[in-house]
Symmetry: D3
Subunit: 335 residues, 6 copies
C-alpha cells in the first residue's frame, strides 16, 4: 500500500535512474524513439523551424530544449488520475525532416508531406515547434477534405495575437498566417474556432478585426473580467463534440511564466489559469496539438519555459488518453 515501503530497492533505484533529466539520450517525456512511426497511437514530434517569423529566429532550438528537459517527466497526471503511458502507445517520432529549410514555401510542402504520413498511420500528432507557421502544414495534412476528418475541424487557439494575416515578408507560409489560411483553405471550421487570450498593444486598431469577424475571440480583458470557469464553458459551447485541434502559442502566458518566447507581450495568463482551464476541458476530442514559439536562447537559466512545454505536452497526452479511454477508443474513432 505505501509507496515508500512498497517498492523494492531495485525498483526505487530504477525509479531514481529514470528521472534524471540530464542522463541518457533525450526523447520527449522519455518516450521510445520510433522514427519509422511503428507501434504508435500518439506521436510526439519536433518541428525545429524558425523560417516563418521575420521578427524572431531562434525557435528551431525548441524541440531539442524540450526533449532535454522533459526527460524528467513521463509521469502520471495528478488531476485526471491517469498515467497515459499505461493506456496508449506513445512515441517520440523524431524531428520533421526539412531539407529545404531556407525556403519557406518548399518547407511547408515538405512538412505537409511528413504529417500526411503521420495522419495516414492514424497517429495523433503532438508537435513542438518551431515558430507558429508550423500549424499550417499540419492542418493541411490532418484536416480538410482530403484528410480522414473529411472536412474542417474545430480549433482552440491560445495566443496573444490573432495570427490571421495574409502573405508578408516574401511568403504566404509565415508565422502569422495559420489562422487566416485555416479558414481560407477550409481546414478549420470558423464556427468551431475559438481564439483565447489576445493582449498587449496593437499595431493598428484594426489588427484583430478579421479574427473578430470570423471566429469567437476572447481577450485577456474578457478572461480577467469573467474568469476561467466562464472561459471553459465558452470553449465547450464553441467546440462541441467534433474533432478538434489545439494550437498553443506560448506568448499567451505572461512573461513571468514563459520568458523564452518569440514576440512577447506584457500582461498574459498565469500558468495556474492555463492549467486550470485545460483541466476543465475534459471530454474534447483532440486530434492533434502543437506548442509554438518557444525560443530556448531567451529562456532563463532554470529553463522554466522548457519545463512548461513538458508539462503542456503531458497534459495534452493525458487528456487524449482520458478521452480515448472513456469516450472513443482510437481504433473505433478517427480511423
Amino acid at each position: 500500500m505505501e509507496f515508500a515501503k512498497g517498492l523494492t530497492e531495485e525498483e526505487m533505484n530504477e525509479y531514481s535512474l529514470k528521472y534524471r533529466y540530464w542522463s541518457g539520450i533525450p526523447t520527449f517525456l522519455r518516450a521510445p524513439h520510433r522514427p519509422n512511426m511503428e507501434d504508435t497511437e500518439i506521436g510526439l514530434i519536433g518541428f525545429p523551424y524558425s523560417g516563418g517569423n521575420p521578427i524572431e529566429r531562434m525557435q528551431h532550438h525548441g524541440p531539442r530544449a524540450v526533449r532535454n528537459r522533459s526527460c524528467a517527466y513521463q509521469r502520471a497526471h495528478r488531476f485526471l488520475q491517469i498515467n497515459p503511458f499505461d493506456t496508449m502507445k506513445i512515441s517520440d517520432l523524431g524531428d520533421v525532416p526539412l531539407p529545404n529549410i531556407l525556403n519557406p514555401d518548399r518547407s511547408a510542402e515538405d512538412a505537409e508531406k511528413y504529417f500526411r504520413k503521420v495522419h495516414e498511420k492514424g497517429i495523433i500528432p503532438i508537435t513542438v515547434g518551431g515558430d507558429h507557421s508550423i500549424t499550417t502544414p499540419i492542418l493541411r495534412a490532418i484536416a480538410g477534405k482530403n484528410s480522414k476528418q473529411k472536412g474542417p475541424i474545430g480549433m482552440i487557439h491560445f495566443d496573444a495575437h490573432a495570427d490571421s494575416w495574409g502573405p508578408t515578408a516574401g511568403t504566404a507560409n509565415h508565422a502569422g498566417a495559420a489562422f487566416f489560411i485555416g479558414a481560407e483553405e477550409g481546414l478549420i471550421d470558423p464556427k468551431r474556432t475559438i481564439q483565447i487570450g489576445f493582449h498587449g498593444s496593437v499595431a493598428t486598431l484594426e489588427q484583430e478585426q478579421w479574427s473578430q469577424s470570423m471566429y469567437t475571440v476572447t481577450t485577456m480583458a474578457d478572461i480577467e473580467e469573467k474568469g476561467i470557469d466562464w472561459l471553459a464553458k465558452e470553449v465547450h459551447r464553441v467546440i462541441g463534440d467534433g474533432p478538434t485541434y489545439l494550437s498553443f502559442d506560448l506568448d499567451v502566458l505572461d512573461l513571468a511564466y514563459a520568458p523564452g518566447v518569440a514576440d512577447p507581450e506584457v500582461n498574459g495568463m498565469t500558468t495556474r489559469e492555463v492549467f486550470s482551464l485545460l483541466n476543465k476541458l475534459r471530454g474534447l476530442d483532440i486530434v492533434g496539438a502543437d506548442i509554438a514559439c518557444f525560443c530556448p536562447p531567451l529562456d532563463n537559466e532554470a529553463q522554466i519555459t522548457a519545463l512548461l512545454c513538458s508539462e503542456l505536452m503531458l497534459h495534452f497526452v493525458a487528456h487524449i488518453a482520458d478521452y480515448r479511454k472513456t469516450r472513443q477508443p482510437l481504433a473505433a474513432a478517427a480511423r
Copy 2:
C-alpha cells in the same frame, strides 16, 4: 474592412519591416530622433545616470536597453482605442547630456538646465532612467514657482520605498531624496501626492513615518486588502484635476515581473494590477512622467523588464494623447 486582406502586399511588408526590434537605428518606440527638440509635443528622453544610488550602479544602461527593445512597439493602445502617434507629435529627444557625470551635484544642475529647455518649448517629458535621483532635476525644471505650472504639482509615485530621505552618501541629490526634496522645495503639493505600493522589510520601524505624515501612502498590504478599484478611486480623490507628474519606480512590481531593478523587494504588484490601475486613471492631466531604476544587466535573457518599460512608456504616451484629445489640447493648456 479586414486587416489581413485589406492591406496591399507592400503595406504588409512595410509593416513587417517596421516591427523587427533588432533592425535599424533604435529610438524609443521608433519615434523620430529630434535632438534639437523641434516639432515635438511629447519628448521621450533617456537619462542614463546611476550616480545617485550607493547600492546599485547599473541604471545608466537603462535608456539604451529600452530603446533597443521598444523598437517593436509604436502601436495602438488596446484599452484606450487610440494610436497616440496619429494624434500627437512624439519624438525621441536623445539622452540628457551629463558632462560632469561623476559629480552628483553638478549633474543635477546639468540635468535641470536641460529639462528647463524641454519645458520652455512646451514639451511633455517622458523620461527613462537612470536611478531615481533623476526625478529631482526634472521636478525643479517643470514644477514650482518658476515653471509654467507656477507652483507645486500633483504626484503619483509608484515605489516599494518612500524615497523621502535627507542627504546621504555625500550628496543631497541621491536616489532616495526626490520625494523629500519635492515637498521641501515646493515642487510637489503634499495634499495632491500619493505614494503607491510600499512593501518589503524595512531598515527601521520609523523608515516611512515622514512620508506617512506628509502624503497619502498606500502599501501593498492596503492594495491586497482593498483592491485595484479602491486604489484607482483613491488616486483620483487625492490628485483631482490639476497638473500631475507620474514617477514610476519599477521596484513596485514583484521581481517575477520586473527582475531587472535596483534595490529589489519581494512581494510587489503584478503587471496586470499595474496596467489595470493605469487604465482606470483616465482623465488625469499628466505633465510629465518617468520610469526609474531599470538595471539591464540584471534583466533576464528575454529582457522582460525592458519590454515592461516599453509598455509603460506606451501607456503614458497614450494616456496623455487621450487626455489632450478629449479634455485639454496641449496648445490651450500648459502653454
Copy 3:
C-alpha cells in the same frame, strides 16, 4: 519624529554604508560571525550540501549565495512591527563542517554531531541548504527522545513533493527521505505534521499515498479552492501549541517566483501567498527551520531566489523573536 530629518548625517551615512549588499565580508543578514557559537540565541547556519539528490547537484552553492545577497537585509519586519535584531542575539555560525562530503551516510553523521552541539547550547537553528536531505540530521539532533524536546515535535513542511521515500540511489540519507525518516525514527509527530503545497505531475498515482496516510496533506488544488485563510487555520489546528519545526522547500513556489530550485514543478504558490500565510502563523513555537533546495546556478541574473531566501530567513527570525517576546522567552522555554 521624521526619519528623513531626525537622523544626523553621520547616521545616514552609516545607514547607507550598511545596506550595500556587495561590500564587506558577507554573513547572513549581516549578523555577526560567531563560528564558536558563543553569545547566540538564534543561529543562522549554512549547510552547503548536494550529495543527497540524484537529480540536481548544485545546492551546495546555496549558503554562499544567500549570504552575498542577504547582506542588504537585517531590517525590521513590516507586518510584525518588530526588529528581531534588537530583541534577540542572532549570529551567523558559519557552515556545517563536512569533511566526508562525498559519503552521504558519514556526512549525515557529521552534520548530526554539529547540530547536536548547536542544540546543546540552546541555540535555535535556522539553516540554509543544501538539498532537502539536510533536514534529517537536523531533526535527529534537535528532536526525538535524546533531545531537549524529549520526543517528536510538530512539523510544517512546505514542498511540491512528499519527500517520504525509503532508501534509494545507494543511501537512506537522500533528499527525498526526511519526512519518511522523521516519522520512522520518532523525530516528528505525525498528528502534528502538515505538508503544504503538493503540485506538478507525479511519477505514479501512488506516489503520495504514504504521506496521505500518515500526515495532514494539503495540495495546491486545495489551496486554490479554499484560500490562504483556510490554510492558516488548518496549520494552527494541526500544529497547536507544542515545539514545531518549519521545513521550507523552495519548490513549493511557482518557478516565476523561485526559478533557482532543484526538481522544479509548474503551478506553485506565489510569494504573496506564502508570506501572507506566514504572517497568519503568529503564535507558533518554532524551535528550528530550514530553507532547502536553492540552486544558485539556476537562479536568474537578478538573483530573485537568493533574495527570497533572505526574506524567508528574516521572517523566520522575526516570528521567533515575536513569539519569544510575547509568549515564551527563550530562557524559560526549551531549555
Copy 4:
C-alpha cells in the same frame, strides 16, 4: 603639447561624454547617421540577415550589437598614425531594407538593388552582417561587368571554411555560396583571390577541393608553419594592385577570441595574428569589405566579439583612408 594639460576642461568633458558606449542613439563608430547616403565616401552598413544559414540563425542581431558596442570607438589608428574620420567622410547608412526577409532569393535581389545605389553614389561599403550570404548581393552590385569596376575584382577571404558550394537547403543564395557564385558570375578574379585560415574538421575529404583548384588557399596549418610575414607577402603577391574586396568571416578566429560566431571551429587565429596581418597589408586598394557571421546571443557577457567587430571596422576604415590619402584619392579613383 601634453594631452592631459592641453585640453580645456570643456574639451575633456566633451571627450568623456563622447566615449560612453552606453549613451545616446548608437551608430557604427559614432559616425553620423545618413540613411539618404548624402555626403559620404565610406558607408558603414548593417545587413541584419540570417536567412542564408541552415545551421545557425541569429546573425541578424549582429549590426545592432556592433553599433551598441562600437559607440566607444571613432578613434585614431595606433599603427597607421591616422584618424580616418579627419580625412574622409564616413557615415552610418543604416540597415539594408529587407521587406522579403523570409525569402532568400528575393532578399538577395532586394539587397543587390540597395548596394547598387550605394555603389552608384561612389560610396565604399563596409558592411556588418548577417550570415555570409550577404557577400553575394554586395559583389553583384559593386563588381562584375556592369559595375564601375567593369570586371571581376580581387578578393581576400578570411574564413575557417571554403564557402564555395552550389545550391543547398532550398536556395542558391545561402551562406556557403558566395565564393562559388563570385567566380561563376565573373564577380571576383580567381587569380586575384586568396582564401585564408581554413581549419577544423571537414565533412568530406573533398570538401575544399573546388577552392583549391580555383583560388590560392592558405590553411591554419600553413600559417602556423610559415608565419604571418609569409602570409602578408602571399596576399600582396596574389592581390597586386587592382581593386580588391575583403570578406572577413569571424570564424577564422579561435573561439577564445571570437566566441559569438556561427559554425565555430576549434584552433583558429589569434586576434594578434589577424591585426598584425592587417597592418602588413598597407597599400591595397580596398573597394569594399564585410564582417560576417557574428551571432550576438552567443557572444559572452563582455561582448568581446562585438568589440572585435568594432576594431575590425576601424581597421578597414583606417586602411582605406590611409590608401586614399597616400595613393589614390577617392575622387580620382573608382569614380
Copy 5:
C-alpha cells in the same frame, strides 16, 4: 571532381540536414545509438557523474552537452586525411547506468561492471565524463591482470594536477585518486606513464612529489621552455609500442580555451598546442580514452568547451582508426 558541383542537389540537402547541431535526437558525433553494444568497434560512452569531486559538482551534465553540440561533427580528420566513420564501426552506447549514484564506492563498482562488459565485447571505449574519478573503474575493467591486456597498460595523462592522492572526503574513489590507484592496483605501468601539463599554484610544495617519484612528469614550464616537438618525442619515448590509455582532463587547457571545467587553473595550454601534439602522436596503440571534468553550467554561451570535447573525441576516434588501418586491425589485435 569538384565538391560544389559534383554532388546532386539531393546529396547537398542531405548534407545540410545532417549538420544542423540542433535537430533530431542527439548522439555523440551523430553515431548510431546502440545501447546493446552490438556491431561496435569503438564505443562512445557518457559517464554522467560528479560524485567524486568535493569541490565542483556539475560534471554530470557533461555527456548531454557534448552530445548536443557534437551532432554537427562526424566529419573527416583534416590532418590524418581519414574519415574514421568509413573504416570503423563507431556507436554511441549511451550512458553508464548508475543506480547508486549517491554512493561513490558502489557507483565505482557499478561502472566497473559496465566497462567490463564493453571490454569483453572487444569495444574500445571513448568516455565523456563526469569528474575525473571516472578513470578508476574504466582502468579496473580494461587493464590489469584480469583484462584482455593481461597486465598494466601505458598512460598519457593530460592535467593541471597530479590526481595521485589517497582516500579523502569519505571515499577512495574520488576525482583525484585515479593516478594513485592506477599504479597501486597494477592497472597502469609507471614506466609507461607520462603526466602532461601541471600548472597553477599548489596547496603544498610537496603536492606533486609522489607523481614525480613514480611517473614521467612534464609541467607547463617544461612545455613552454622546450616546445611541443620535444613533448611529442617525450611521449613516444615513454609510451613506446604497447597498449595505451589516454586520459584528458580539460583543465590542462588555459581557461580562455576551456572555461567550462572543474578546478580551473590559470596559464594552461592553448588548443593549438594540444592538437598539434595529438597530431604528432600518430602510431600509438590507444585502447581507450576519456575526457574528464567538463562542467557545462560553467561553459560560455558559445559552448566552446563542449565544442572542444567534440573535437577531442573526433581526434581520438580518428587516431584509433588511423592506427588500426595502418598497423594493427582490431580483429587481429586486442582480442
Copy 6:
C-alpha cells in the same frame, strides 16, 4: 615523503574541506579577517568603488567576487617555491569604508585616511578594486613626503591606457588620473616609473604624449617585437632597488584571458606572458600593489577574471614574501 600517502586521513579531509571555494565565510585567499588591522604584515584590502569611471560602473562588485573565488587558493607558489602564508602574517582587512561613496572627492579623502592608517601600522597593502581611481588615495597615503617612504616611489604600471589625464567629468579624482596625479603631487618618481602594455585604438594621436614625455613607456607592439625577457630587463633597469608600487589594470590582458574588465581593448597580453614577466621580476622591493578595473557582471560563467585576480594576488604576496625573506625583512625595512 609521498604526499598521497604521507598525510593522515584527517589531514586529507582537512585539506579537502579547506579548498572548497563555495563554503564558509569568504575572505581573500582564505586569509584571517582582521578588520582592526592587528597582527598583520601584508593586508589584503577590498576597495569596492566605481565612482571614478564615467564609462563603466560595475567595478564595485570586484572585491566580493575575488573573495568568493579566491577561497580555493592560499596555496604555495610553484615558481618561487615558497608558501608566503608560512613566512608572513597575511590578513584580509576587509573593505575600505566609503560613507560618501556618491561623492568622488570626499571618497578619495576617506580612502586616503584609511590607507594612512594601514601605512602607519607598517602593513603592505595589496588592494583589489574598484576602478583605477583607487590608486590615487593609496599613493597619497603610502608615498610622498609625509609617508614613511619620505618621497616619491617607483611605479610599475600595467595598463592598456596611459591614465595620465587631468580633471574630467566633474572631478580630478577619476579613473584615468592616477598616473598624472602621481607625478604632479610628487608621489611617484617619473625616472623610476614604467608603463607596460599600451594597445588598442586611440582617441587622438596625441593621447599618450604626456606619458611618453614623463615615463618609460612600452607598448604591446614593443613587447611583441622584443619579447618578455627584454621587458623584464627593462623593468629592472628603470625600477632598480628602491621602494616600488605595482598597479595592475586588468585591461592590459587580452579579452580572451580577462573578459570582465572596464574599458576593454583588443590585442592585449596573454596570461602566460604576464606571469612569465612577474616571475622574472624577483628581487624588487614591492611596498604595495593594486588590481584594478575588474567588473564581475562582465566576467564569464567560469569567472576566469576572478580566478586571474586570485592568481595575481597570490603572486604579489609570494613575491613580497620572497623578497622579505631573502633581502630585507619587513621589520628592518620600511618601518
